[in-house]
Amino acid sequence: MTTPQVPDPATLAPSEEYDLYFGPNHPGIEGNYSVRVRLKGDVICQAVADGGYLHRGFEKIMEDRLWVQNIALVPRICVPDPVPMEESYARAVEMIGGLEVPLRAQWIRVLMLELSRICAHLFTFGGNAATIGLYTNMFWGVTMRDLFLDIFEEITGARIYHIYITPGGVRRDLPEGVLERIEALLVELEERMPQFEDLFFNNAVVIDRATGTGRMSAEEALAWGVTGPNLRATGVASDVRRDDPYLVYPQVDFDIVTETGGDALARMMVRKGEVVQAVKIVRQAIAALRKVGGPVRCELPNPLAWDLPAGDAYARTESSKGELGFYIVSNGGPRPYRVHVRGASSMHAVQVLEKLLVGSRIEDVAQIMFSLDACPPEVDR
């Protein structure tokens, strides 16, 4: 048996480039995801997104479960922003089955969606700051989010996996007094916003680090299939809530926030603006819910004997990360025949990320990823 010969490094030809695994357990990245970067010095010359660590096979599992059973599964696709998952799934089922959601349930869903958007943005907001070493921001963002999770707990019985929106409406009506508590929390959030402004957007470190980082043009964003805040940060006023309205959004007054920078800072600016808009929408939903009564779910058949008519539907929702879609095919049975989830991040967390990383510096990888609000669970599913 021969011992393998280890060459003396000094005898090798000089190399300028080297590979580095970024992740899959990087604390700045949500979930298990990695990027393999090829570096020349500190600058990235090639990046390959390396997903699959979080693949749980949701789409396949859903084919095995009853239409109602699936509501327990969908929020788990994306932890930070679960409500749009529930909404998209429920709406796709409603489209196939021709179900009509009662008005009150529609307003409750809008309320839930916007609260979830605030939560997700606060989370990203904190996380993004942490990627450039600003941990105070992270604590503040996550703390604020926790207070919103309390509201979710009160309405749905769970803080993260709400399993609240169901085909035909929602599972329960709102508990008494929750609207007042949401209002109080919104005031608290608004008081906190100027501090976030000081701590983050007026922070010299942020301005230095985020300006021009991970920049893409509007043309590039459109060509790459980017949606949501990342697209709006390049100046394109695109929003599913306006382009393909659902629920009661046509009655809701809100602005589409856009920026023109297309870089990490612009993306965070858009999110800040969206929190403000979401607060505005939540207030409208609260006002509406005080007036609109009635049932919160349409009449559904026994879930154990519920065959949806044959057909297919694509339901899309503006999540905090972009266009989230559920494409469901029914062959007239008690379970979906096929489900496909268009994770909003599946564009910007893979191909777009790979492109934006090239030319940027090693210390900006995490920031670029977070400023894109890349959500690996959505990519892998």
């Binding site: 059973q69 996996y161 004997a305």
Partner: protein
């Protein structure tokens, strides 16, 4: 390396602003412990008193986290739909979605506001929830059943019926039956718990045939029905539907209309297909054995059908001109049209059963002759004699037995329709005769004067609720809590009935022993008094020898579980043995047929073995 361009970062004094935070409360103060939210989905709670062990929670659980555990110490009552088992939860699989709570038919399952369990013992994560909670400390209830959020469909599809004004003077069928679409909707309410299967005397495969209806496959449904019941047309109309009493959906809502669904299945399959389906598993070869059956009621014909399918030669002897027994001669046509009985019997005859009508046992054929002709004899002669109250005057010719009158109506035999009548009894037979008479009276006199006198109070009536309601719509009067004292006769003419107030019906031991308040007397004028207080059997045809040979138990022929008497070639089934109702008769018919087959073929096998 890319250049970092200088950017405007505001005043250099700006960071000093942060100093103000030194005097503020930190944003991230640790939160104080607080109880979980009122609708929190924590560990499960289960009210064992309410839970019936239907396992619907297990069915809806998308993670297979729920397993039903059999607990022998718990009460079991198939007739009420209670099974001695309770759900156990595996918290290694549970995802806290609470779909089990939302679907629970009884509302026994809920979730607590308790959510912490730390243990190295893996088994401790598999628990049998009760009201005490995961750690027995009675945490308050969290997510629980909400009336508006019920996943079950608790409302029954309405059965279209003829309105009272249209049905009051004729015998056409009242219930019109579900159309296929409505039947499928009704079938969709079923949760497939199988309580109905357990409760049914014949253990019909109700979950299976309901599922087939839901799938729109009525032929498959008929096939499932014929596994256990050759009288779907009859039972689909007049069954005492114990299945519906046990139905889990009925615990909080209206039970699934299992009886109407059975009817819908056979109504939607043509007769020739029904025959083909029913006889699919008929034996191709004859056994060479002969069986004689006395009485062409549901028990006798069920046994005949089973035995004929097994290849035996079966002959049924019937006293009346048409087969069917009490189904034809006891149940009025508005509840069960005769052609529906004929349809069921046609299937049985197609199996090869010979039915000899107008053949009275003891008159046209003797037991000895039957024994001589056949290898086995089954008695299913039923309860053909009405009981009498034996009150003074009850021997008057205008005091009649309900079963006799009902048979006369079926036979088309004329009798003087009384302008006013009193019916003694509170069961279904009392209402059958009362409503039949009401129709005849309306036809003859244009008005109804029939009064039903029940011993029981209104809320404890023995008759079906719909009988009570519908009879009232048709003009029948009901007086509760009165017992008969005497028939009032002047000269030869019957003038009416005197009743006294009933104080209690049963004695301390629970035996039938009514007590009356003799001072509270009421007179009910009537031209006819009808007794509908129960029936008894007339087995005088057995003859002295056989009567002596047989063992008796409290006036009934002693039989084993399968219906075999102490005389080796003789079996008994039907109302003689159990009941009285159609489905019990069918169940005893099946049991007797199986026992006869085993006995006959056992003999053959024994002979072949020699």
């Amino acid at each position: 390396m890319s250049d970092i361009a200088p950017k405007y970062k505001g005043s250099m004094l700006r960071p000093l602003k942060a100093l103000s935070f030194l005097f503020r409360e930190p944003a991230t103060l640790p939160m104080r412990p607080r109880p979980a939210a009122k609708v929190y989905r924590g560990f499960h709670l289960n009210d064992w008193e309410k839970c019936v062990g239907c396992a619907t929670c297990q069915q809806i659980c998308d993670n297979d986290a729920i397993r039903m555990v059999h607990i022998p110490a718990l009460p079991s009552d198939p007739a009420k739909g209670i099974r001695p088992r309770r759900p156990a939860i595996d918290y290694g699989r549970c995802c806290w979605c609470a779909l089990c709570v939302d679907i629970c038919p009884t509302g026994s399952l809920s979730m607590s506001r308790e959510y912490i369990h730390v243990s190295r013992d893996v088994d401790s994560y598999f628990i049998l929830p009760d009201e005490e909670g995961m750690h027995g400390v009675r945490y308050p209830q969290g997510w629980a059943k909400d009336e508006n959020a019920d996943l079950l469909d608790l409302k029954r599809q309405e059965m279209p019926e003829e309105p009272p004004q249209e049905r009051a003077d004729n015998f056409s069928e009242i219930c019109e039956g579900y159309d296929p679409q409505t039947a499928m909707l009704e079938a969709s309410r079923c949760i497939q718990c199988g309580m109905c299967h357990d409760a049914c005397p014949a253990h019909m495969h109700a979950p299976e045939y309901i599922r087939a209806i839901f799938e729109g496959d009525f032929e498959k449904s008929v096939a499932e029905i014929y596994r256990t019941n050759p009288f779907p047309q009859v039972c689909g109309r007049v069954c005492t539907h114990r299945c519906e009493t046990a139905c889990s959906i009925g615990k909080r809502g209206e039970p699934v209309a299992i009886r109407w669904l059975k009817r819908a299945a056979v109504d939607n399959v043509p007769q020739d297909r029904t025959i083909a389906i029913a006889l699919k598993d008929k034996a191709k070869t004859k056994t060479g054995k002969r069986v004689a059956i006395a009485g062409a009621g549901p028990a006798g014909l069920t046994a005949a059908f089973d035995l004929a399918k097994l290849g035996h030669e079966v002959t049924v002897y019937e006293e009346k001109p048409r087969p069917g027994g009490m189904m034809r001669y006891g149940i009025p046509e508005y509840r069960l049209p005769y052609e529906r009985i004929d349809a069921d019997i046609a299937v049985i005859e197609a199996a090869g059963v010979k039915i000899r009508c107008n053949t009275k046992l003891g008159r046209d054929v003797t037991m000895a002759q039957l024994k001589g002709q056949a290898d086995a004899v089954l008695l299913s002669t039923g309860l053909n004699k009405g009981r009498s109250t034996r009150i003074p005057g009850s021997d008057h010719p205008q005091v009649r037995a309900a079963v006799d009158l009902l048979a006369r109506i079926t036979l088309g035999e004329a009798f003087d329709i009384p302008a006013s009548a009193v019916v003694i009894g509170g069961g279904n037979v009392a209402f059958d005769i009362a409503r039949s008479l009401a129709r005849l009276q309306r036809r003859a006199f244009g008005k109804v004067e029939v009064t039903v006198l029940a011993l029981e109070e209104r809320d404890k009536m023995l008759a079906d609720e719909e009988e009570v309601i519908e009879s009232a719509q048709e003009g029948v009067k009901l007086i509760n809590g009165r017992g008969p004292k005497q028939v009032v006769i002047e000269g030869d003419a019957l003038k009416g009935l005197e009743t006294v107030k009933c104080l209690s019906i049963f004695d301390e031991q629970g035996r039938f022993h009514p007590r009356y308040d003799e001072t509270d007397v009421m007179f009910h004028p009537a031209q006819m008094v009808i007794e509908a207080i129960g029936q008894m059997s007339d087995v005088s045809f057995l003859g002295e020898d056989l009567t002596e040979q047989l063992e008796w138990s409290r006036g009934r022929i002693r039989i084993d579980e399968a219906g075999r008497t102490s005389v080796p070639w003789l079996w008994a089934a039907g109302d003689l043995v159990k009941g009285p109702d159609v489905i019990s008769a069918i169940a005893t018919g099946h049991a007797a047929a199986a026992s006869i087959h085993a006995a006959l073929m056992g003999e053959t096998e024994a002979r072949e073995a020699k």
